[in-house]
Symmetry: D2
Subunit: 369 residues, 4 copies
């Protein structure tokens, strides 16, 4: 008789919109993981968990610290509100648990760096930030092509995150916690830029930011202005050594979620999702030809989240490097925060090669490189 | 503490290309099912099972009858070679097991009908033929639209199954068992035609075949002719009451698998997969813009197979009607066989409304309806 | 001073929907042609001509024979009702005028053959049937690729002509003259099949029809039945030597005109207009992503008609072979008529290699080739 | 007998790549225009004109001033090198000739303004800058939709001009005259932004620039740096009243010309050319599905140039307002120059509502609007 399979015993912290899905993925779609526990302080989420998780043998906790002590627990997937990501991550690391944390670690750079330092002191613990888009089939195929020199040197990256307009105004209230549109939405695009620009070195060598600049408008939700936020933002990030990434984010994309990315290289271009669709169905009616697109981020990236769970699980079980480098995730937050600051101040922000802010008056344009 | 989840205890029979995948789906991707056993007479497949199934607690059998006696077994997924589908299905039914059987039940109509009769005598047993395409998201969305009268009355269905050319010639050898291209490939398209044409009655009223005619050529594999088969076939099925389905199948589609379907109604048309692609990535290089398509049937329909497993499991556990009606599956074989016969004889074949063959000379054209 | 340009002096016969456009093309968009005369017996068309052609120096005639005597006239473009195509073509040939005649020459095969014989007796006169689709950029690019062996041997051709539904019922009345849907609509598709299948020989060797079979339905206009016609037709043409063409035509395509063609070869496939659109604009609104398609045949093929006029003009001026072979155009009518007959009788029709009708009972299926 | 048609007697100045095409369009494809003269100082171009224009009755000049005196001349299309656009335009206006001038009027703002003033002093003379993209069918359809409030208030415009890489290095040499990538390439995109943002007022109210910022890199042609230019540029223009346009230009697009534009409104988005193709043909071969795109700007916009010629001709003959407002064309140059300056200096540039440069330190970000 064969040896039974060893499964990673994992818990999910937070059972909101994304947390519930993470729980589902680890419970049902990640063969090598076993969801053993879940934490939520919220009564409604607990009720959901009683019905949907407990029957599958998952223990429900209302105390995070207690959950960390669940017998045999090896890893935690943190999907709580952003404000407690860092604290819970640190606690988990210090309790010897591997961590998959939803992006971003924090909307504050120093807090991110603190997590990074704690993780650095526990090198045997796997810590990974959940940049789900990297696990999407189209994005990962593009990465393979870039590393195989299919398009030459990646030079320009354009990437956008456009959400369907939510007339409930939820995102207006959320703006006070989200860190702003560049930290909340474009963080994915920034992560992709860092990923593809470092593809030649397989992630070892992150590109170095030279300047960031951003603008934005409040087209539908003027209330956002009080939080220094916008509902449409455009940001440009210039890297040393001749690379540029530019981003667009919008909270008012009419048909649904449209996230797309182009990687422009010296020999070709890769375009991910230039022509969005939710499936392979087109309707030919008297008004023309029509297709639908995903209604939200999860609908677009569901399988990427599943793949993320699987790859994290495998990395822990087989003691491999996690597929999203933590340093890169901190850098993404740094860039997002700088873009948000530029949006607010209206000023272009400059950095030297060591990452220190410098006076732009002394800097010269990209064409002089 | 909540009641633990009740899971359907299922076995998979046959662990070849598709069987191994069915096993994987029931084992890892169908939360409410538990794969408890698997049968294969093949040594190589048994070795695979030892490595990939046994460690997950699956018992491996080399005797089908013995497997049927596995304690607590409730259902069987049959994915052996077509020639034993019917026999195994009947044995399973008679042993009181629910059955999900790969298409077709048999390449012989009378054998299909025999299965149908056995199933009819065991009304508490669920028997479903695995017409996977119905579980694809695009196809099921199209079905919803048809039932919601989005395109008026479905009138013409065009559907094709085009496989990537396999230079190994496997399909030539296989032709002696497959029943021929219309039974092996277009059976899916025939099933879709029956499904969409009966959508108004939610499947209760199958369309009635009036005539079938088929032609074909052996473009790359002349050896097929000895089995009365071709590598490219075109078939037309005329139904009573003004509906037509026409089909194309090919074994030599250069870029990969391209199955597509159009449902033409009196008010609009639904097109599934007119513009095939494997993901959302396009490559812009000096030779133009390029995209890839799935390389085989499974790559195209993987998630549909998973959905099929889930819906079958749910139907059994909750005692619901299975989503693919067995009578329709028999009818699909009948039409496929008639097309293959027409291909071989060169003659158009006619049926009366009761399904009896009639002499075509007495029939009149469709325009007289 | 350079020699002034010699222009082809041409007349247009018939100024209905298409005739007016031909006049416009020769007048304004064919640099090497000079429209010198136009004929129409219709008062309304004459009024249009007075306003739109006469000011540009075009002489208007209400007598065709008189027009043929217009001083210096060299060529005639015939765009009258189909019933007089042949008579006018013969008169023009006998008057020594080159002829570009709208398709079809006639809906009667013997009349087509008569035109062909007259033309054959006047070898210095250019006679060309206006199969406009051949002059479309996408179709002619496809032809180049076929002749360059890009897809191997063309084996299967699928082609469709789908018109937007015209609720005025015009096409019902027209059905008594049109020759039926296969002669009126699919004639283009038949022509394309002959063209691509003879591409290897650059048109010298037409494929030889072995059998035709057709079915159809009257989905929206039952009145069509009295003329032996339908509003949706499917036809299959089998050629000797292993080639098949299958066709679809519809009068009820909801969004507009959708003509598409696939040429399946042993090494690849060319698809023309699989994903129709009228331009490069897509609308992203709350109902999804929407695009429009051409509303009628002319909107889709406008530039092809212009190119046709230019190539015909050049062929005459430079005494080159006309780009559409007259024999092929007669063959297209023969096939269209046979399909229409099969539609009406319900019977498959067989031909021997010399084009004689033979008894199908003696024939065998395509797979035996 | 009807009154003969009155045609606009026009001359073309400059017979280089674009000039020769303009001559062709006015000669052969603009029914209401008569090309009577052409000027070029270049021997090679003169030889071409002798062969291609003179036989059609066009008089060839090697002296621009002399050409202006051609008897009966009413209008001039200026397609010489950019450096003489302004001078020739002014001369033509002062000689009482209407002018269609290739973009840009000049790469120097003060020169543009000088032309504008001369034109303003001759209000009966039509002066139009040839922003060809506005005459493209997709772009003009988009304009109609915007004016019809199909997408709500236009808020964000993204537009790009990407040329196929020219390994001859022509564009490097040209960079010393072109004004730089933002003035040479993105000028079209800037024009489109001004057009769509002023659509609500039908062009009467141009949006007011608040700030511009640009970055760029020399990925393939480092020699460009000596001219303060780049081969890939990204620019962002912020307008007062909550509108943003952002641009990308590239000299190294591998498959060919890819110009695309998105107009994001509060209720929807219009996308022009998100999925580029040269025609409706796709090739399905063993490497996947492939399509080609236009190889250069003219191939993409040929029909737009023809339409431009027709609309200019009609505006003159019927004394209508020209479809491209001259003030807007000057504004486009002003923005292009500012972007180029920002690229070179690395600094963001600010303007007050009157168009005066102001100190950015005093300005606040877009989110405060």
């Amino acid at each position: 008789m064969a040896q039974p399979i060893r499964k990673l015993r994992i818990a999910v912290s937070g059972l909101g919109r994304m947390g519930a899905r993470h729980a589902d993925h680890f419970l049902h779609l990640t063969p090598r993981a076993q969801l053993v526990a879940a934490f939520t302080p919220d009564a409604k989420e607990q009720a959901w968990a009683k019905e949907n998780l407990e029957p599958w043998g998952v223990k429900i906790y209302s105390d995070y610290d207690l959950m960390l002590k669940h017998e045999g627990l090896e890893a935690v997937c943190i999907a709580t509100v952003t404000t407690v990501h860092a604290e819970q991550t640190i606690k988990a690391i210090e309790a010897g648990k591997h961590v998959l944390c939803e992006k971003p670690l924090s909307t504050k750079l120093e807090v991110c760096q603190q997590v990074f330092e704690v993780a650095a002191r526990h090198p045997h613990i796997k810590v990974m930030c959940g940049f789900s888009r990297r696990f999407d089939k189209s994005y990962s195929s593009a990465y393979q092509l870039v590393t195989n020199d299919h398009i030459g040197r990646p030079t320009i990256i354009r990437s956008q995150t456009c959400d369907k307009y939510d007339p409930s105004g939820f995102f207006v209230e959320y703006a006070q916690f989200s860190g702003g549109i560049f930290v909340d939405c474009n963080i994915h695009d920034i992560d992709l830029a860092l990923w593809y620009f470092s593809a030649a070195s397989r992630g070892a060598q992150l590109p170095v930011v030279k300047s960031v600049v951003a603008v934005g408008v409040t087209a539908l939700e003027p209330e956002l202005a009080q939080y220094g936020d916008v509902d449409n933002g455009v940001g440009v990030v210039e890297f040393y050594d001749g690379q540029i990434a530019y981003f667009f984010s919008s909270r008012m994309n009419a048909p649904g979620q449209h996230d797309m990315t182009e990687i422009v290289g010296t020999k070709g271009k890769l375009a991910v999702n230039a022509s969005p669709t939710i499936d392979m169905l087109e309707r030919h009616t008297s008004t023309g030809i029509n297709r639908e697109i995903p209604q939200n981020y999860f609908e677009r990236f569901e399988m990427a989240f599943v793949e993320e769970a699987r790859q994290f699980t495998e990395a822990v079980l087989e003691n491999k490097t996690v597929p999203v480098d933590l340093k890169s995730s901190v850098e993404a937050v740094r860039i997002g925060i700088a873009l948000q600051e530029s949006l607010r101040s209206g000023q272009k922000i400059w950095f030297d090669r060591e990452g220190n802010r410098v006076d732009g008056a002394a800097m010269t344009g990209g064409s002089k490189l």
